[in-house]
Amino acid sequence: MNSNTKIRIIAGRMLQAIPSVFGIIVVTFLLTRALPGDPAVYFAGPAADEKSIQQIRESLGLDKSLPEQFLIYLGDLVQGDLGVSISTGFPVAEELWRRLPASLELTLLALIFSISVAIPLGIAAATRPNSWVDQLCRLIVTAGVSLPVFFTGLFMVYIFYYILGVAPSPLGRLDIIYLSPPPITNFYTIDALLAGDFEVFWAALAQLILPAITLGTFTLAPLARMTRGAMLQVLSSDFIRTARASGLTRSTVLYTYAFRNALLPILTTLGMVFSFMLGSNVLVEKVFAWPGIGSFAIEALIVSDYVAVQGFVLAMAILYVLLNLTIDILYTLIDPRVGLDG
């Protein structure tokens, strides 16, 4: 296959993402309308009468028919306008945009932690079945899936902050004694490095470690299990026997031949794991008072701020579509068979 067909396949996948995004817009719109509670009543306050509630309803556009509301919403969306949050008074797009780097920084670090533990562990377990590494892998997988995120988070805070005192207080992205670094990427660790401020870098990293490990522990389990399973399966396949019979070194057999093939199911799992992460983010952010989009969404949900909830769900869904797109593209790059037989 030449690179031209590859580009065509990738472009095709990108086009396929458009209907998904539209579907997501429709579903989030309908879902947030189906939420219990009338936002107009909430915002009018307990003392409001029928007339003032009706006024608020009109000002929010809630008196119009559902299709009309949808068209207005769609029109705003095209201009990048997600509406104004009823609870904070700021535009939702601005709120999300401001909080997204915090969530992404946490999620990416958790993912890096999770991958860098799970994949070597899975490979080691697969190459030495029933050894102590394999048992360790089994133990970690079981622990990882059975401990809920909020429990791991609180447990970590209890041990490392309260008992041992080695972790900073779990209150956001940076201890109040530090000034946040000049915003470039809005990832505090990266910005601090760019500014050459190592003290702030370490402080930001210290804040990140506990929540990232909490989030990563949860996703480590499926990833390690899939790595082990995929490696075991690939290692017993015919072409590995051929590679060994050709005298290729152990590392060539293991990485160039086996791992690259095992990477396909691992990538699929990675996609799923990432969506778990987006979900658990909400809990972890709450436990560690992390000013990300997860905690924003919870606060919005509690006060029936459906404009904000809708914006959050949409942002998450688009993130998820983008992630799947990335995985599909990686698939196409790794596996030459993709796109020809399906």
Binding site: M1, S237, D238, F239, R241, T242, A243, R244, A245, S246, G247, L248, T249, R250, T252, T256, Y257, R260, N261, I334, D335, P336, R337, D341
Partner: protein, 323 residues
């Protein structure tokens, strides 16, 4: 290398597999050898130990397998006691192996040229600069049309016969002394089978290479091999030069196997099946593992210490009551 010293000599080999349901005695007292320029056939039913013998000779037996007795000498190297590093050096350079189902025996996500290149570079037959040219040369040696283009093809883009040619190109790329072909034509259509076998025979002759052909097809072994080793349930029961074996098979199993093989003349009605199946290799086994299926069985067959008899020069039979 001296003409008289065999390229591969397997002597008194015992192999066991530890499984959950007991120890499988896969090979017992297996001995055979291959000389330079010679092609031998190892023939037997599925499960008779043909492939296990070959994989043990290569030192790539599954981890569940244990060699409990015997020795293997491959081009002067003591395979069973050599360090893994030496064995890796040996594989692909001194001895190569090709397998059945060539499409699954190649890495599905790596171009075939790169896979050949990996072997070439591993054994120092090519470097970064000339690896592509050398791989193309290897493809040319197995008469693959348009080798430049095939170099960049993936296995799924090629036919089974073409993949087997690639396997052969890869196996022979570093000019080994010995080629082990484990059912190389299984899964290929009949015309391709003949073409592949002719290619192997021709390349072996051209390079004065020793070849072990593992097959369940006695007819194919007869067509291509100089000598035939017949295996049954982990025993070598008879070995002789092809002409001699076909003229006067001495083991009852060999004779039965011949009657069960279709010939050019003669109708399908002449084919006789062999009654019974292979014995359970996990159980206590009699000295002769064919005794339960044998029409010539008598009490003496159960006496221990059954050894191979040289009934005529180079013709060995492991039977108390040979034909």
């Amino acid at each position: 290398m001296n003409e008289r010293v065999p390229v591969l000599a397997v002597d008194n080999l015992n192999v066991e597999f530890r499984t959950r349901s007991g120890v499988v005695k896969a090979l017992e007292n297996v001995s055979f050898h291959v000389n330079r320029g010679e092609m031998i056939g190892i023939v037997g039913e599925s499960g008779s130990g043909k492939s296990v013998s070959a994989l043990t000779a290569m030192g790539i037996l599954d981890e569940a397998g244990r060699v409990t007795q015997g020795s293997i000498n491959l081009g002067g190297l003591d395979v069973l006691n050599a360090p893994e590093r030496d064995l890796q050096e040996m594989r692909g350079r001194e001895v190569s192996m090709i397998f059945q189902s060539p499409r699954t025996a190649l890495n599905p996500i790596r171009t075939v040229g790169k896979q050949i290149g990996d072997v070439l570079r591993r054994h120092g037959s090519a470097n970064r600069q000339n690896v592509r040219a050398e791989a193309i040369k290897a493809l040319m040696s197995v008469r693959i049309p348009d080798p430049e283009r095939r170099h960049d093809a993936y296995p799924f883009e090629l036919s089974g016969g073409m993949c087997q040619r690639i396997m052969i190109a890869m196996a022979l790329s570093c000019r080994p002394e010995l080629l082990i072909a484990d059912e190389p034509t299984t899964g290929l259509d009949v015309t391709t089978q003949a073409a592949i076998m002719d290619l192997i025979k021709e390349l072996a002759k051209e390079r004065n290479m020793a070849t072990v052909l593992i097959t369940h097809d006695l007819g194919m072994a007869a067509d291509y091999c100089d000598r035939i080793v017949v295996m049954h349930a982990g025993h070598v029961i008879e070995q002789a030069a092809t002409a001699e074996l076909f003229a006067s098979p001495r083991h009852p199993y060999t004779a039965k196997l011949m009657k069960a093989t279709p010939h050019g003349e003669g109708s399908l009605d002449d084919i006789e099946s062999i009654a019974g199946g292979l014995p359970d290799l996990r159980a206590e086994l009699p000295p002769c593992r064919f005794s339960a299926r044998c029409e010539r069985y008598e009490a003496a067959c159960d006496m221990p210490a059954l050894i191979a008899d040289e009934v005529s020069p180079g013709h060995l039979v492991t039977c108390r009551r040979p034909l």
